[in-house]
């Protein structure tokens, strides 16, 4: 079998597996968030936390709970890193520097997992598992909470209530993330991913040298890193490291874990609004964009355009032998189409256009299928913008799922959309305009600019992958990117929750002849079009200076 055919089978098998679990997992998540019963463990947790699980919250209270939980998370993670030398299993590492600790704390709480540190030489086991991996779970669960709150906004009528954040958080973590992560972690161990608490072994190599082999609770962290679309690697090499991703089939499994919840949440959405076909329409938009992107990334990488790839004869720089170029390209597309940012190959060494695809995927707002939760709410906001645009074109009041999209709603949606471009473009501009910003580039010329553009795109969209040549562990980048991550996560969340509150307050407008059907291929095409056009208009000039200039010359 040739590389291209094998690569197509690889993608096809992923699509098939996702299609198989779409219904059962989507229905399960629907039951999780809509169910009334609390398990015994959950009751204990609510008692310990001191919340009343049956008291519903308004959008404001819900948003403040999200922010409080995240603020406490940042503070806790910061402190944990600052005192790690006094903790168990610290492996003798020093406390993390303040600017880097701030950057890392924000990074993990915002589900970004941008890493300005190198895991194997910075973080002890306890910080990894009790600090970073915990945020891997809860930051993903927070994303799902916000998405579910928005869906409730569509599903409910004439109410101020959007659910209870603490209940959604606990249920999402315990009933969805934890069981899947546990099974995934055990499977990963079978594929060669390590799980121990040792500080490693020293081997005497064949050549008579010494090699220090690391230890650590990697599998448990790896599973949730992919499942929660987090992406922060235990080691510097992330999912390229054989101890994080040992075989070609674990690579498949990791991509599957990345995509499974964001895809199945569309089913949950359809169930919750009482029309399965609305979920199918949303997943169709995501699937269309994702397949085109995966195909293009694979094609650009296999064609290996560019001087060095042509000299080599393949785009194998920064690529592991066991994965090969095609499966690496698929991983790269999956990790940037979602908010994961894990890497199994190094995007900085990709061909000009292949590297651009990873950037474009993030610029799309990470909605195809997007991060856990954030993908769904991002896509629903785009659907709102689409019905508004369509409404303008035919001169009717726009509606979506029986809710009127009035000026209040469209303002929230527009604000949501504008946050990331503002952060990305002003951040990049500030970096190339200042000496500290320019100093970080490893490559020169267009590729150096791409490194900076990639960093701000990645941070503002909460992705976390990098054109890793950029030296980002400086006070300047740690601070700037930390701010981008925080604003890029929480401003959109507040807008989404405000939108949800405004929708829930409305009654239901019955569908009339003038209502645009939102479950047909026509609507799927329109949402896809709106997404691509909005992104192209926003980012094309910046892309022209970096990856396009490099890839087309």
């Amino acid at each position: 079998m040739g590389t291209a055919v094998a690569g197509i089978c690889f993608v096809a098998s992923l699509v098939l597996a996702l299609a198989v679990v779409y219904r059962p997992l989507g229905d399960h998540m629907h039951r999780v968030y809509d169910g009334r019963r609390h398990s015994r463990v959950e009751r204990v947790i609510y008692r310990l936390v001191g919340v009343k699980p049956d008291a519903e919250q308004t959008w404001g209270v819900y948003a403040r709970s999200v922010l409080a939980f995240s603020a406490v998370g940042v503070l806790f993670l910061y402190l944990l890193q600052r005192v790690q030398d006094r903790l168990l299993l610290s492996l003798g590492f020093r406390p993390v520097k303040p600017d880097q600790a701030w950057n890392t704390a924000v990074s993990f709480v915002t589900n970004t997992n941008w890493q300005s540190y190198s895991g194997e030489s910075t973080m002890g086991h306890l910080v990894q598992m009790a600090g970073l991996a915990v945020q891997n779970f809860v930051s993903a669960a927070v994303g799902m909470c916000v998405a579910i709150a928005l869906v409730r906004g569509f599903a409910r009528k004439r109410t101020e209530h959007l659910g209870n954040f603490w209940v959604d958080l606990t249920r999402g973590t315990l009933r969805i993330l934890l069981p899947i992560a546990f099974v995934g972690a055990v499977a990963l161990v079978a594929g060669g991913v390590i799980q121990n608490f040792g500080d490693g072994h020293t081997a005497a190599t064949f050549a008579g040298a010494q090699q220090r082999l690391p230890g650590g609770p990697v599998a448990s962290q790896e599973a949730i890193k992919e499942l929660g679309t987090n992406g922060g690697g235990f080691f510097n090499a992330n999912s390229a490291h054989p101890y994080e991703n040992g075989a070609a089939w674990t690579n498949w499994l990791e991509i599957f874990l990345i995509l499974v919840i964001p895809v199945a949440l569309c089913r949950t959405f359809g169930r919750m609004v009482g029309q399965d076909r609305q979920g199918h329409a949303i997943v169709a938009v995501m699937g269309t964009i994702a397949l085109v992107s995966v195909a293009l990334t694979n094609a650009f990488q296999l064609m290996h355009h560019g001087t060095v790839p042509m000299a080599v004869g393949a785009a194998t720089e920064g690529v592991e032998s066991r994965f090969g170029v095609a499966n690496s390209a698929t991983f790269a597309a999956a990790t940037t189409l979602t908010s994961t940012g894990a890497v199994n190959s190094f995007h900085d060494s990709y061909t000009g256009l292949g590297g651009m695809m990873t950037m474009v995927n993030m610029m799309l707002g990470e909605v195809a299928p997007g991060g856990v939760g954030s993908g769904l709410y991002g896509m629903l906001v785009l659907a709102v913008i689409t019905v508004f645009v369509a409404g303008l074109m035919v001169g009717r009041t726009p509606e979506y799922l029986g809710k009127k999209i009035g000026s209040r709603e469209i303002k929230f949606a527009a604000c949501y959309f504008l946050v990331t471009p503002i952060l990305v473009l002003t951040g990049t501009a500030a970096a190339v305009a200042t000496r500290s910003g320019r100093a970080g580039m490893l490559n020169s010329g267009a590729h150096g600019f791409s490194e900076v553009l990639y960093a701000f795109t990645s941070a503002s969209n909460n992705n976390g992958s990098a054109f890793a040549g950029l030296t980002a562990n400086t006070v300047w980048y740690d601070t700037a990117l930390g701010l981008c991550m925080a604003f890029g996560r929480f401003l959109p969340m507040v807008f989404v929750l405000a939108l949800a509150g405004s929708l829930a307050r409305q009654g239901r407008t019955p569908a009339s002849d003038g209502t645009l059907p939102t479950h047909r291929p026509q609507f799927v095409g329109m949402v896809t079009g709106v997404t691509v056009v909005l992104v192209a208009l926003t980012f094309l000039p910046a892309l022209a200076l970096g990856p396009l200039a490099e890839g087309l010359h």
Binding site: G215, S220, G355
Partner: protein
């Protein structure tokens, strides 16, 4: 007296975080660890460690260098890919080069430092030159043609800076001056091409600024499919790649067989045994595990000392 709402909210958040930290940060990894103690999983959870004669020699999952202290390949062993992890295959510093597809111009070393036998820390080989150099070295070691497109016969990137007025499409049809950017004056006798569009090509001089020139990589007439495979001239993402392609393994068979005094067919048979195809027939690429292969070689055909 009740505390204000916002304080109560943050206290609830703190308690929630502590509960989740205990559950997800301690119980969960310990539970995975417990399951990983099952037979069949334990070896892998511990790092797929490999022992020879009772001593730990490495991990089947983590590549290592089979070169002597000076970096010269040990002829009796199959060689792994180039590595950017620390000084090569250092698991405490995993990582990649992160150099881009158009990283073709070297930063040349200060000749004064070179003459004094010192290393110039500001000098840097471009990715293209690294590829060319590796290809030449592997070609020499294995006795095959190590030439590659865009490489000089001397094993650096074949890249010119062309000066002169630019045409509308950005090219320089009538150059006034041409410099071979990666060939340093003194290090090479003559540049890889004598003239370019009728202009004599000069070697590059340290400290001169060639930024105004148009960078032109020169394809040359090396075969489109070089004898040295792609994985032999590029570094992996982790710098710890335990595998090589079957093509690169095949290339090394003759040399290893000669160093061990056995026939190539005998070594070839071990390579075949060690080769793994794609998972389920379509995932990843076929590979050869270098550490396992060398271990089998040492057991079956010990090297003559």
């Amino acid at each position: 007296m009740r505390s204000p709402t916002w304080i109560r909210q943050h206290l609830a958040a703190l308690r929630a975080l502590l509960v989740f930290t205990a559950l997800l940060g301690l119980v969960y990894p310990l539970a995975v660890f417990a399951v990983a103690q099952l037979p069949g999983l334990k070896d892998k959870a511990d790092g797929s460690l490999v022992k020879a004669n009772g001593k730990l020699v490495g991990s089947a999952s983590i590549g290592q260098s089979f070169a002597d202290k000076d970096g010269n390949p040990l002829r009796q062993y199959f060689q792994t890919r180039p590595s950017n992890a620390g000084d090569g295959y250092d698991p405490t510093a995993s990582g990649a080069s992160n150099l881009g597809p158009e990283d073709v111009v070297d930063t040349l070393p200060d000749p004064k430092l070179v003459a004094a036998g010192k290393e110039d820390e500001n000098a840097r080989e471009s990715l293209l030159t690294q590829v060319c150099e590796r290809s030449r070295a592997v070609g020499e070691l294995e006795g095959v043609d190590g030439s590659r497109p865009f490489c000089t016969p001397g094993g650096v990137g074949a890249v010119l800076a062309v000066f002169g007025p630019r045409a509308k499409d950005g090219t320089v049809p009538h150059p006034t001056r041409v410099v071979s950017l990666n060939e340093q004056e003194g290090a090479v006798k003559t540049p890889f091409v004598a003239t370019y569009r009728g202009v004599k090509v000069e070697p590059a001089r340290y400290g001169e600024d060639y930024a105004r020139g148009l960078v032109v990589p020169v394809r040359g007439n090396a075969p489109a499919e070089p004898a040295v495979p792609a994985d032999a001239v590029t570094a992996s993402g982790s710098g710890l790649d335990p595998h090589i392609s079957p093509e690169y393994a095949r290339l090394q068979v003759r040399r290893v067989a000669r160093a061990r005094g056995v026939t190539p067919a005998q070594v070839e048979a071990l390579v075949r045994e060690d080769r793994t195809g794609r998972s389920l027939g379509f995932m990843g690429e076929p590979v050869v595990n270098v550490l396992r292969l060398n271990l089998a070689l040492d057991a079956k055909y010990p090297a003559r000392d």
